[in-house]
Symmetry: C2
Subunit: 262 residues, 2 copies
């Protein structure tokens, strides 16, 4: 099967113009088929502030009312996505920016209200791998914003990590898939204060031990749960690495955390 | 040659949710290959106001500084474009929202500064008809926002009427092209206060006469100049009609202004 890289770039890199430019340069140079998923970063919160909207969070997740949906649609779908696409085009990378609504790439279901009403937040129902493959087949590079749609005419806000893993799972039917989470740290760290304490390899058994010891906690847990779930559903490889390190992924001389089942 | 409709929908229809919905319903029902280009409407000005930005105009054209470029990128590329795409998807129309940067669809040149510095405004240099044809060939419906890019990493603000005519001209190499300008009036009117005074057919000779008599003036002039220029460059037909009237375009029982060279 042909190799496909699905790369998620985190919000902290998006927020730093210089880091973003360097990352996109390495992304453009990466050979073969690839898909980029970008997070939102702090710009949506800044724009909401300037518009006088109150940002509501619950357990680190944004509550998306109608006004906030319009902000994330503008910032993720219009500002961040098109900035990335235009920069990549200047690097001879034939990018196409998409939300889940475009070509019906990702259909989602509005999250049911239980204790908390998250508002216009979508849980992914289906990824349209045929449409993505049609673009890839002609050398086009899909750049996905963290937005989906419900198929009833509404856009929905969806976590970029989840879009990355679900998209990679769907593409695994026809490609040997490599899911890379690029962010501002060197990988999953044993000691959050020591950048040199990278856990270079992590399987389910180690993971359970690290969790029990509280070595891995907070925002890393859903990311890793997503990673193991992806491996069980046919994804060939999951790596968590520093954005700058993407340039070394092809020659395998990178530092980062490689996640495996066994 | 196969028929292709290129349809421009004006800002006044974009601003009215009910009218927009009705128009999109008729657009979705239109058989065969089609491309939609949308204007911006008043939302960009409203968002700029709420962000405390001063809107600068010259001869009815927006001056686009860096802050305003971000606003139009957000509003045209993120808010309006994705609203249209998600509504069309709910109508089983497999839409894909694009700016000129996506797939390098429309490359432009930043307008040179003469008397006035229009800022980040792009004059179209090239339309990528191969990429649009690749999407159309798989049944996808391109929805173009009035944004282009300069190929050097910058987005540019570009007039939607011009995007419509230049795109139609480029597509005329491989399709029998029909360029439809849909707006809130019934067509080009002899008397702006009388909706029943539609000029149903307009050739270059009539046009010159109407111009001399001041029957046609203001914003209609660049639109008609564009239309005649398009016909000279291979476009099969140009029609200016009321958005509601799109439903009658296939059976040719529409009221509107049909523009011809002779």
């Amino acid at each position: 099967m042909e190799k496909l890289y699905v790369i998620k770039i985190g919000g902290n890199v998006i927020d730093n113009a210089e880091k973003l430019h360097l990352f996109l340069k390495n992304f453009a140079l990466l050979k073969g088929k690839k898909i980029l998923i970008h997070g939102g970063g702090k710009i949506a919160t800044q724009v909401a502030d300037r518009l006088g909207l109150e940002v509501k969070m619950h357990n680190g997740r944004r509550i998306t009312d109608q006004a906030m949906l319009e902000v994330v649609q503008m910032v993720y779908g219009g500002l961040v996505n098109k900035n990335i696409v235009s920069i990549l085009q200047a690097m001879s990378c034939n990018a196409v920016g998409l939300t889940g609504a475009d070509l019906n790439i990702i259909k989602a279901v509005k999250r049911p209200v239980k204790d908390i009403d998250y508002g216009f937040v979508g849980d992914i129902a289906q990824v349209n791998q045929e449409a993505l493959a049609y673009l890839l087949d002609n050398g086009y590079i899909p750049i996905l914003a963290p937005l989906t749609h419900d198929g009833k005419g509404n856009m929905l806000n969806t976590n970029a990590d989840t879009i990355a893993s679900e998209t990679t799972i769907a593409m695994s039917a026809t490609y040997q898939t490599h899911l890379l989470y690029c962010f501002e740290k060197k990988g999953v760290l044993k000691d959050v204060n020591d950048e040199n304490s990278v856990i270079t390899s992590l399987n389910e058994k180690n993971y359970a031990e690290y969790l029990a010891q509280n070595v891995i906690f907070a925002g890393m847990i859903p990311k890793l749960d997503n990673a193991f779930s992806a491996l069980k559903k046919g994804v060939h490889e999951v790596v968590i690495l520093e954005a700058d390190n993407l340039q070394n992924i092809e020659n395998r001389h990178f530092i980062g955390t490689r996640i495996t089942l066994y």
